[in-house]
């Protein structure tokens, strides 16, 4: 039985080198060689500085921008150094209150729009960093964004349609709109 002690310790050391050092280093080497942009966080450069990651949502609450999902990260929304969901249960009153206040905020920013609000626009994402909203959630906001910017609704609607991604290979996942990309395109309209 004592004979098993040496293999236990020595093989752990060897496997640590193999799977804990060699393997991550090889993957890093391949990743940085083949997919440098993705491996480093899919960062976007604009005006010579890093303006965001295409994969990580940013907070928007100005009526002239499209708003994204609610984010439960602390101390501020879309804190990409501390991802978190709300973890509110379906019957928790705090959930209904949070949803209600978001509904109120959306209605206040767009008086007269009484359409039912797409669910993803009033609920918090799992990651707190969701970069997307549904096409329905984007179309819901077209009227507000157009009015705030003094632009034609159809122009904005076309922009949303251009930025709506289909399911991957037309099958996987869900259709969606990248909020950051859409807002950057809005600012570029002028």
């Amino acid at each position: 039985m004592l004979g098993q002690i040496r293999p236990a310790i020595v093989s752990l050391a060897l496997f640590t080198i193999l799977t804990g050092l060699a393997y991550p280093l090889i993957v890093t080497g391949i990743a940085q060689g083949l997919f440098p942009s993705q491996a480093n966080g899919s960062l976007m450069i604009g005006n010579g500085k890093v303006i965001g990651s295409v994969l990580i949502g940013q907070p928007f609450d100005d009526p002239k921008y499209f708003w994204g999902r609610l984010s439960a990260t602390t101390p501020f929304a879309y804190n990409a150094a501390a991802s978190s969901g709300s973890n509110l249960g379906p019957t928790n009153e705090a959930l209904s209150k949070t949803v209600q206040s978001r509904v109120d905020a959306l209605r206040a920013a767009d008086p007269g729009n009484e359409a039912p609000i797409p669910v993803d626009l009033v609920t918090a994402s799992a990651s707190g960093l969701d970069p997307h909203i549904s096409a329905a959630a984007a179309l819901y906001q077209v009227r507000r964004v157009a009015r705030t910017r003094g632009l034609d609704k159809d122009t904005i609607r076309r922009l949303v349609e251009q930025h709506t991604e289909d399911r991957q290979f037309a099958i996987l996942g869900e259709p969606r709109v990248n909020v950051l990309n859409l807002n950057l395109a809005l600012d570029a309209l002028k």
Binding site: I56, G57, F60, N87, G173
Partner: protein, 602 residues
Amino acid sequence: MTTNGYIQLGLYMVVLIALTKPLGAYMARVYEGRPFGLDRVLGPLERLIYRVSGVRADEEMGWQTYAWAMMLFNLAGFVAVYALQRLQGMLPLNPQGFGAVSSDSSFNTAVSFATNTNWQGYAGETTMSYLTQMLGLTVQNFLSAAAGMAVLVALIRGLARRSAQTIGNFWVDLTRSTIYILLPLSLVLAVALVSQGVVQTFGPYAKVSVVQPTTYDEPVTDADGKPALDEKGQPKTKRSVLMEQMLAVGPAASQIAIKQLGTNGGGFFNVNSAHPFENPTPLSNFLELLAILLIPAALCYTFGVMVKDTRQGWAVLAAMTIMFVGLLVVCVVAEQSGNPLLAKIGVDQRASELQAGGNMEGKDVRFGIVNSALWATATTAASNGSVNAMHDSFTPIGGLVPMWMMQLGEVVYGGVGSGLYGMLIFAIVAVFVAGLMVGRTPEYLGKKIEAYEMKMASLVILIPPAVVLVGTAVAVVTAGGKATIFNPGAHGFSEALYAFSSAGNNNGSAFAGLGANTPFYNVALGLAMLFARYWLAIPTLAIAGSLARKKIVPAGAGTLPTHTPLFVALLVGVVILVGALTFIPALALGPIVEYLLMVSST
């Protein structure tokens, strides 16, 4: 459910089942020592490992030695992970300058990773240095999985051999699982994930400026760095403007690949595979999902090959698949029908071409309902425990499915190795039940099942429920257990029940509102994980040893064939019955009450 929903679920099942035979056949070759190609390339590495660590590869072990070797190896792994966390502040590869992890959290995480549970009591990106993630967590992701596969192979040998004293060599099974199965698959998966946007870098966290500066309430800290309180005892805040975002990155892809393939589940980031850097696209999601069940399903075929009757493997796989598909549909439908309490506020939850609809709280848009529910079911069917949505925010019935999946004992595919050895124990119980009905000595694959095997099988089946129910009971009557329950009412009870179901079956997922990084939960769940892993693995090896010694009895007229639809139905019945009888009272107090409250309030 939408048409596309059926297509996505169908595609997943088809690809999973299609890969079962090729991968299963390959693994059988690896364990039986027949040539399989990769051995020519990596053979020298395998022999080097044996030479340096003093292993005689041709020397086989009895079951006690085999179990002893596994325990020693896991103990060494536990000590290494614990030490790394406590010392990370003094070690390199720590660009964010994280200090030592607390002793109770380190204990919990070390147990969790050594037992293949990978319960995440900690938040990765705010606690763990790159070095700890790699040398501690990634390494155990491989080795705890390989140890589970080794125990399974030992049990299969016990079934396949006749009048033998030994069940294989633990070091050989461990090494072959790691370098021929887990490493190559992980390497391929990791690179595929990076192509989709999973990060893999040793650089520090990236700082980006935000497009629209927003204001928020920043907590004020006093001179000691503790939160300052105002006159009312509430934390003081000040208005601040957010100008930039700090993006947590790191060597994530390499760890995520093995996290999924080894049914580990401990994420690189706090929100696990919901994080866009851990699971950025629907394709990465599909691959990670596939990786959860790939090896556990394929091992069924490996089992069939090794006992020289592949129909036996298909029968077990069929039983698993029937239970999986049934519960999957329940989960998807529950989540797709949404939350009636939100419908009252004027929220549109209908699925359409423009939105996934349904219960989107705690889900990301790119996954929607179908992929979130599929993940929740798969991750708890296997003892994976990674998440791409927050189970705590699931509807009551949607959350019941993953909870019950774990409570069934992690045998619906289950963990790599551990799932199938758990299911084979259920098969032994099933033939025993059938034997009682007709008054014959039960046999499985020609081996007589006698009192000793049944005692050990009973241990395997009874220990996890005991750990789960006693642990939950203690949590809901003690101050330490109740203090960090997050959601009120029945859902709060579900949080505690889920936590012990997860730890007591080595799953690792959570109703994550529960504040589990406290001394009470770190220690209680740590102990639950230890019981659930070793008190199952050791009796399983005892059965292996006992069966190996027996002769093979030729099948007679009274033998129950174990490859027929009848046996599949019997096996499903035993698993469901044990799970239902044990847990329905507890489930009634949690998700079922919550469901009734939810529908009655509308």
